[in-house]
Amino acid sequence: MDEDRPLFAQIAEQIENDIIDGTLAEDSQVPSTNEFAAFHRINPATAAKGVNVLVDDGVLYKRRGIGMFVSPGARATLVARRRERFENEYLKPIIAEAAKLGISRSELSTMIETETAQ
């Protein structure tokens, strides 16, 4: 767990990651907040807050008395959202840093080609 971000946000992000990489399939049950709390050794209320963020977001849905499940279509929504953030959070800093270091556009694309080929 990182020190600089709220735990609930980190819990939410972790569940999102599990949905995106397929660990949590759509319509499958996610662990209970108490299980999250025990596993990460965090306060159950904080874990619940992280889960509830995703419920409010429509990524998860509640079945009364049973638990939380991954909403159908959640993966597609999350991937689309992450793609949007990708440009801002990853691409732009790379381009800015490259410019600072005098790496040309073609050099940068070659580097990306080489890295992805590996």
Binding site: D2, D4, L7, R41, N43, A45
Partner: protein, 296 residues
């Protein structure tokens, strides 16, 4: 949300010394609260006032809506565990485990037995002969097994090793999840418990300096470091909790930095690093000492 503890303008003086200075705060039902602060900040006195063991000089305390002093209907729902707890002479741990259930209607004997095994507590040995950690374990067992709706742990684990402390944290979380209650935990091992806490109250010199949700405090402050001139010009007009300088370098703990502020700082060549809850508490409770040092 119902308030389990309501404190208004609470003051406690011992002679000329003011241990608790006009405190007001409340604690909501079902939560794990951290009461943090330096030794001598007033944590123990506050807990003893809340549990009716000390008498307030002025101000008002309500537990479950009633005053706790000499009030059975309140005290029956309260369990207070303190590091310095005295036990009757010649008592063995099993005497405590036999008598404690009479005072806690929700006592869970199975849990107590499990914890005795977890902590490897020798129950047939005189308490005087137990190690510091074993005495602490006994307190922790009573505190958890009591299932009291309002449980106070005042520095409960002096002498407990890292493994035993982890057992305490895990058992506390597991049992709390199944049997929600209100727990007020005072400790100086802040980093260890910061993830367990839902709410944090920091007191210093008998006054509250932080009263906030633990998660909201995460990332609420940032350490900005770099050349003194740059740090000082960036700090100006911002909320500086604590600052230090060595040679030409300075660092400042600043709260409430937004993304734009961060971008500005990075633009000025300053380094940013996150502040843990422990660092935040240190920063907020040492400021006075630092000021004194600087003016001296």
């Amino acid at each position: 949300m119902t308030a389990v503890i309501e404190v208004e303008h609470l003051t406690k003086r011992f002679g000329r010394f003011t241990a608790i200075d006009d405190l007001s705060f409340s604690v909501q039902e079902h939560g794990i609260y951290g009461l943090l602060g330096r030794n001598g900040a007033g944590k123990t006195t506050l807990m003893q006032l809340l549990t009716g063991q000390q008498f307030a000089t002025s101000g008002d305390i309500r537990l479950f809506g009633e005053r706790p002093v000499e009030n059975s209907s309140v005290l029956d729902r309260v369990c207070s565990i303190k590091e310095s707890q005295r036990y009757p002479d010649e008592y063995q741990a099993h005497h405590v485990l036999t008598s404690a259930p009479w005072f806690f209607p929700r006592w869970d004997a199975a849990l107590a037995g499990q914890l005795v095994a977890d902590f490897r507590l020798p129950v047939k040995r005189r308490i005087k002969k137990l190690s510091r950690g074993q005495v602490s374990a006994l307190g922790v067992i009573v505190g958890l097994a009591s299932r009291a709706p309002l449980t106070f742990f005042d520095e409960p684990y002096l002498g407990l090793d890292a493994v035993a402390r982890q057992i305490f944290y895990d058992r506390l979380l597991a049992d709390y999840a199944e049997h929600p209650r209100t727990v007020l935990l005072s400790t100086h091992l802040i980093d260890e418990v910061s993830n367990l806490l839902e709410h944090v109250i920091v007191i210093d010199d008998g006054k509250i300096v932080i009263d906030a949700e633990a998660d909201a405090l995460r990332g609420s402050a940032t350490t900005v470091s770099g050349r003194t001139a740059a740090v000082e010009s960036f700090s100006a007009g911002r909320n500086v909790l604590h600052s230090e300088n060595v040679g030409g370098l300075s660092s400042a703990v600043i709260s409430g930095l937004g993304p734009d502020d961060r971008a500005t700082a990075i633009g000025e060549g300053l380094d940013l690093s996150p502040v843990s809850l422990q660092q935040l508490v240190v920063a907020t409770t040492t400021s006075r000492a630092t000021e004194w040092k600087e003016s001296a």
